[in-house]
C-alpha cells in the first residue's frame, strides 16, 4: 500500500483531518484517565477486610448507661447464642465497613505527639472474637486470658495488642514489631502479635496507605466494650440468623434500642459503604462508552462524506485496474493514519490531564501501560468505524468513471 498518495489526499483536507485527529486525541486522553480512575475505584472496592465477611454480621444496640454494660452483655450474649444456627456471638467495638467507634492518634512517645505514628482504629474485642473474625496471625501469639484488660475511657489504659502488618511496617519499618510499645496520649500499648490483614471501619476516609491501620485490642467485657456484638453463622444461614437475632433483641433486652441501620451482615455493610464508588465506576464507564460511540460516529460521518465526494476518483481507479481490496485498504490506511496522528497527540494530552488531576486529587501517576492499551483501543475503534463507508467505497463500480464527465 502506498502511503504517499493518501498523505497527498489528506493534505487537501487538512482541516477535517486535523479535527478528527483532535477528537481522537481528546478521546484518547479522557479514555486513559477515566479507565485509570475506574481501576483506582475498583481497587478501593476490593479492599481486603481480612475477616470472614460472608459468615459475619453485626448487632448493635443503644440507650443504656455505662454501668449497665456488663449486665447487658451477659444477657445479650446468652440470648443471641440461643438463636438457632448461630455458631458464635462475641463482643467487638467495630467491624470493617460499620460505624467507626475508636479512631485516635498514636505516637512513639508518651503524652505528646512529637513522634507521631498516625491516626489508627482501635478495635476493642472480647474473648473469642479473634477466632470468630477469622483473622490470620502471621507473627507473635494470640491473646491469652490474662491479656484482656478493662476499658472505661474508649481503650484500656495499658493493653497487650495485635496490630495489622501494614501498621507494623509503617511504624517500625524493617524491624520486628513484637514487643514494641506505643502510646495514645497516656494510654500505653505493647504489641504481642501481628495479623495479616484487618481493615479499619471507614477505610476510604484515611488515604490508601492507612486502610489497615488497625489495633486489635483484647478488652474485658463492660465499660467501653458493650452493646455491639459479632454474630457468626454459616454463610447460607446468615440472613435468617440475623433476622431472628434482630427480632430476639426486643425480648432479650427490652430496655435498649436496636440500631436498625447498622445491625446488618458484613456483606451488606460493605456494599452500602462502597455504594458511592460503585456509582462513580458506572458513571465513568458510561461516559467512556458514550464518548467512544460519539467518536466512532464522527469517523463514520466524515468517512462517508469523503466516500461520497470521491465517487468519481474511485471509479477512475477501479477503471484503471484497482481491485475492490485496493479501495478498501486505501480507506482503512487513511483512517489508520488519521487515528495514529490523533493518538500521538492524545498520549501527550493524557499525560497532561493526569498531571492536572494529580494536582487536585489524591491520585497516583498514570501507569505507562495505559497509553499503548488506549492506543490499541482507538485503532480498533477507528478501523471498525471506517469499515462500513470503506466497503461502500469498494462497491463503487468502475463505470462511474465514465458518467457525466
Amino acid at each position: 500500500m502506498q502511503i504517499r498518495p493518501i498523505l497527498a489526499a489528506l493534505r487537501r483536507h487538512r482541516l477535517a483531518t486535523l479535527l478528527i485527529s483532535l477528537e481522537v486525541a481528546l478521546a484518547c486522553a479522557v479514555l486513559c484517565n477515566a479507565c485509570f480512575l475506574v481501576a483506582q475505584r475498583w481497587e478501593l472496592i476490593q479492599t481486603r477486610s481480612g475477616v470472614d465477611e460472608s459468615s459475619l454480621a453485626m448487632v448493635m444496640v443503644h440507650g443504656f448507661e455505662a454501668d449497665q454494660g456488663k449486665d447487658l452483655n451477659a444477657r445479650m450474649l446468652a440470648g443471641l447464642r440461643a438463636v438457632p444456627g448461630v455458631q458464635s456471638v462475641n463482643l467487638i467495638s467495630q467491624v470493617p465497613f460499620g460505624p467507626q467507634t475508636g479512631a485516635a492518634g498514636i505516637s512513639h512517645d508518651q503524652g505528646s505527639f512529637k513522634r507521631k505514628i498516625g491516626v489508627v482504629d482501635f478495635v476493642l474485642a472480647g474473648p473469642g472474637t479473634f477466632q470468630a473474625l477469622g483473622l490470620e496471625l502471621v507473627a507473635g501469639r494470640l491473646p491469652k486470658v490474662g491479656d484482656y484488660s478493662p476499658a472505661t475511657n474508649f481503650a484500656p489504659a495499658d493493653a497487650q495488642v495485635l496490630v495489622s502488618r501494614s501498621l507494623a511496617e509503617h511504624a517500625w519499618p524493617g524491624e520486628s514489631p513484637l514487643g514494641k510499645e506505643f502510646w495514645c496520649d497516656k494510654l500505653h500499648f505493647r504489641i504481642i502479635g501481628v495479623v495479616d490483614h484487618f481493615a479499619r471501619a471507614r477505610p476510604r476516609d484515611w488515604g490508601s496507605q492507612a486502610v489497615e491501620w488497625t489495633v486489635f485490642t483484647p478488652t474485658l467485657p463492660g465499660g467501653s466494650l458493650a452493646g455491639t456484638y459479632l454474630l457468626r453463622a454459616k454463610p447460607q444461614d446468615l440472613p435468617r440468623v440475623l433476622r431472628d437475632a434482630r427480632n430476639a433483641v426486643a425480648k432479650i433486652a427490652p430496655d435498649v434500642v436496636l440500631d436498625q441501620e447498622n445491625s446488618r451482615t458484613l456483606v451488606d455493610l460493605r456494599a452500602s459503604y462502597f455504594k458511592a464508588d460503585r456509582i462513580m465506576i458506572d458513571l465513568l464507564i458510561g461516559v467512556i462508552a458514550t464518548m467512544l460511540c460519539v467518536t466512532a460516529l464522527g469517523i463514520v460521518g466524515l468517512a462517508s462524506f469523503w466516500v461520497g465526494q470521491r465517487q468519481k476518483q474511485i471509479g477512475v481507479r477501479r477503471a484503471l485496474g484497482a481491485t475492490r481490496g485496493d479501495i478498501l485498504r486505501y480507506f482503512q490506511t487513511e483512517n489508520f493514519l488519521i487515528v495514529s496522528f490523533g493518538i500521538a497527540l492524545g498520549m501527550v494530552l493524557a499525560f497532561g490531564l493526569n498531571l492536572l488531576l494529580m494536582s487536585h486529587y489524591e491520585l497516583p501517576r498514570l501507569p505507562l501501560y495505559y497509553l499503548p492499551v488506549g492506543a490499541l483501543a482507538l485503532w480498533g475503534l477507528g478501523q471498525l468505524a471506517v469499515l462500513a463507508p470503506a466497503l461502500r467505497a469498494a462497491a463503487v463500480p468502475p463505470v462511474v468513471a465514465t458518467r457525466s464527465v
Binding site: 482541516l15 477535517a16 479535527l19 478528527i20 483532535l22 477528537e23 481528546l26 478521546a27 486522553a29 479522557v30 477515566a34 480512575l37 443503644h62 440507650g63 479512631a103 492518634g105 505528646s112 505527639f113 512529637k114 491516626v119 476516609d205 484515611w206 434500642v257 452500602s272 455504594k275 458511592a276 456509582i279 462513580m280 458513571l283 465513568l284 461516559v287 458514550t290 464518548m291 460519539v294 467518536t295 460516529l297 464522527g298 460521518g301 466524515l302 462524506f305 469523503w306 461520497g308 465526494q309 490531564l353 488531576l357 487536585h360 486529587y361
Partner: protein, 434 residues
C-alpha cells in the same frame, strides 16, 4: 431573510436525517452531562439563607496550643469554639448564638412505640431570631431560660406532628435521652441547604434537617451527646465548659460595614488579651471574621467526586463539540455546488456565512432541548445516589436557561469555522464541475 435561512436550514437538516440526528444527539449528550454536573455544583454553592446571609458572620479565633496539630484528620479544631470564648464573643455581639449539634433518643408519647434517634441542635436563645425561624405555635426560649438551664425544647413541625399528631404540642412533655422536657414552641420546617451552621468539620454540609432545639446550658448540664468534632488539649474539671475543649459554633449578626470592622477589631483585641493572660499561644492576627458565603467557601463543602465528575462532563462536551465541527465541515463543504450557485446569483460571503450560522444554531437548539431532557434524567439518577447532597439536586429556571444558551452557543461556535470555510468556496471552480 432570517425566515428564509431558517427554511433552508430545515430543508437541509431534513435531507440528511441520520447525520442531523447524530449531531443533535452528540450536542444533547455533551450538554446534558455537563448541565447535570453544573446543576449539582450550583445547588451546592447556593446561598442557604438568601434573606439573611448578608448580615450573618462566623468569627474565628485560635485558642490551640502551639504544638497542637492545626489540621487534624477531622478538620481544623480551631474552627470551633471553647465554651468561655463562645460566651465572651456572644456578649459583645448584638445578636448571636452559640450552638452544637446533638443526636438524642426521642421517646414517643405512646409507650408501645420504639424510641428513635434524631438530629437537633443545642443552642442559645438568640438562635431563632438570628436565622429567622418562624414559629407555628408557641415561641423560643428567653435568655433567662438559658441562665436557668430550663428543661424546655422547641420541636420542628415534623417531629411535633410525629409525636402528638394534630393535637397542640405546646405545654406537653417529651422525653429526650433520659430527661423530660417541656415543649414551648413548634417551628415551621426549616432546612437550609447546605446546613451552613452545623459543625462543618464533620462534613455534614447537606443532610437531614434539625428536628429539635434545646438550650445549650441545659444540654451541658445533662451532658448530652454532641455529634460534631471535639478537640481537647487540657485536662479540666469543667467538662464541656472547659477552656481547653473546642466544640461550639458561633454565629453573629452584624448590620453594616462599621459593625463588621468593629467586631473584627474586637476579635483581634480579644485574642491579644487572652494571649497576655497566657491562654492563647498563637498570634492574635489569626483572628478572622467570615461572611456566611465566605465561610462556606472556607469549609470547601463540595466533595472532590463532584468536581471530578464536572471535569469529566466538560471533557466529554469538548469531544462532542469537536465531533460537531468535523461533521458540520463535511456537511457544508459537500454543498459547495449549492453555495457556488447562490454566490453566482449575487449572494455575498456574509449571506452564506449567515445561512450556515443559522443552520448550526438550529442544530444547537434541538440539541439543547435534548440536553435538558438528558440533564433531567441525569439529575433524577443523582437524586437516587446515597450522598447527602443528592436530595437537593434539582434544576431551577436559571440553569434551564443556561442549558439552552450553552447548547446554542456551543453549536454556533462549532459552526463558525465550517461556515467560514463554506463561504470561502471559489464559485467558478465549482460551477465548472457542475
Amino acid at each position: 431573510m432570517f425566515a428564509y435561512y431558517l427554511d433552508l436550514a430545515l430543508r437541509s437538516l431534513r435531507r440528511n436525517p441520520v447525520l442531523t440526528g447524530l449531531m443533535v444527539l452528540a450536542i444533547g449528550l455533551g450538554i446534558g452531562a455537563s448541565m447535570t454536573m453544573l446543576t449539582v455544583l450550583h445547588v451546592m454553592a447556593q446561598d442557604p439563607l438568601p434573606q439573611r446571609s448578608a448580615q450573618l458572620y462566623y468569627p474565628h479565633i485560635d485558642p490551640l496550643p502551639k504544638a497542637y496539630p492545626a489540621h487534624n484528620d477531622w478538620g481544623d479544631p480551631s474552627d470551633n469554639f471553647t465554651w468561655p470564648d463562645a460566651m465572651a464573643l456572644l456578649e459583645r455581639a448584638g445578636r448571636g448564638a452559640a450552638m452544637a449539634g446533638g443526636n438524642v433518643l426521642v421517646w414517643p408519647v405512646d409507650p408501645d412505640q420504639m424510641p428513635f434517634r434524631l438530629q437537633g441542635h443545642y443552642t442559645t436563645a438568640g438562635f431563632f431570631g438570628l436565622f429567622g425561624l418562624s414559629f407555628e405555635q408557641g415561641h423560643g426560649w428567653s435568655p433567662a431560660d438559658d441562665e436557668a438551664h430550663a428543661r424546655v425544647v422547641v420541636l420542628s413541625h415534623e417531629l411535633a406532628h410525629k409525636l402528638f399528631g394534630e393535637a397542640d404540642a405546646v405545654g406537653r412533655m417529651v422525653r429526650l435521652d433520659d430527661s423530660e422536657f417541656q415543649v414551648i414552641g413548634v417551628t415551621a420546617d426549616w432546612a437550609p441547604q447546605p446546613m451552613f451552621y452545623a459543625d462543618a468539620s464533620s462534613k455534614g454540609g447537606f443532610g437531614e434537617a434539625d428536628r429539635f432545639f434545646l438550650p445549650l446550658s441545659t444540654a451541658v448540664d445533662l451532658d448530652m451527646g454532641v455529634s460534631g468534632n471535639q478537640a481537647s488539649w487540657k485536662e479540666g474539671e469543667n467538662g464541656k465548659r472547659s477552656p481547653g475543649l473546642t466544640w461550639l459554633q458561633v454565629w453573629v449578626e452584624l448590620k453594616d460595614a462599621a459593625q463588621v470592622r468593629a467586631y473584627r477589631q474586637f476579635l483581634v483585641d480579644y485574642s491579644a488579651q487572652q494571649q497576655r493572660l497566657g491562654r492563647f499561644e498563637r498570634p492574635a492576627q489569626n483572628a478572622r471574621l467570615y461572611s456566611l458565603m465566605g465561610w462556606l467557601q472556607h469549609e470547601e463543602l463540595v466533595p472532590g467526586d463532584v468536581r471530578l465528575q464536572l471535569w469529566l462532563a466538560l471533557g466529554f462536551l469538548t469531544v462532542c463539540l469537536t465531533n460537531i465541527i468535523a461533521l458540520l465541515l463535511a456537511k457544508f463543504l459537500r454543498r459547495s455546488a449549492e453555495v457556488s450557485v447562490r454566490r453566482a446569483l449575487g449572494a455575498r460571503r456574509r449571506d452564506i456565512f449567515l445561512q450556515f450560522g443559522i443552520e448550526s444554531a438550529l442544530i444547537g437548539t434541538l440539541g439543547g432541548a435534548l440536553g435538558i431532557a438528558i440533564a433531567q434524567a441525569g439529575l433524577w439518577s443523582v437524586r437516587h445516589r446515597p450522598d447527602a447532597y443528592a436530595a437537593v439536586a434539582r434544576m431551577d429556571l436559571s440553569m434551564l436557561a443556561l442549558t439552552v444558551v450553552l447548547a446554542v452557543l456551543g453549536s454556533v461556535l462549532a459552526g463558525l469555522l465550517p461556515a467560514w470555510r463554506a463561504s470561502r468556496v471559489a464559485p467558478a471552480l465549482q460551477l465548472k464541475a457542475l
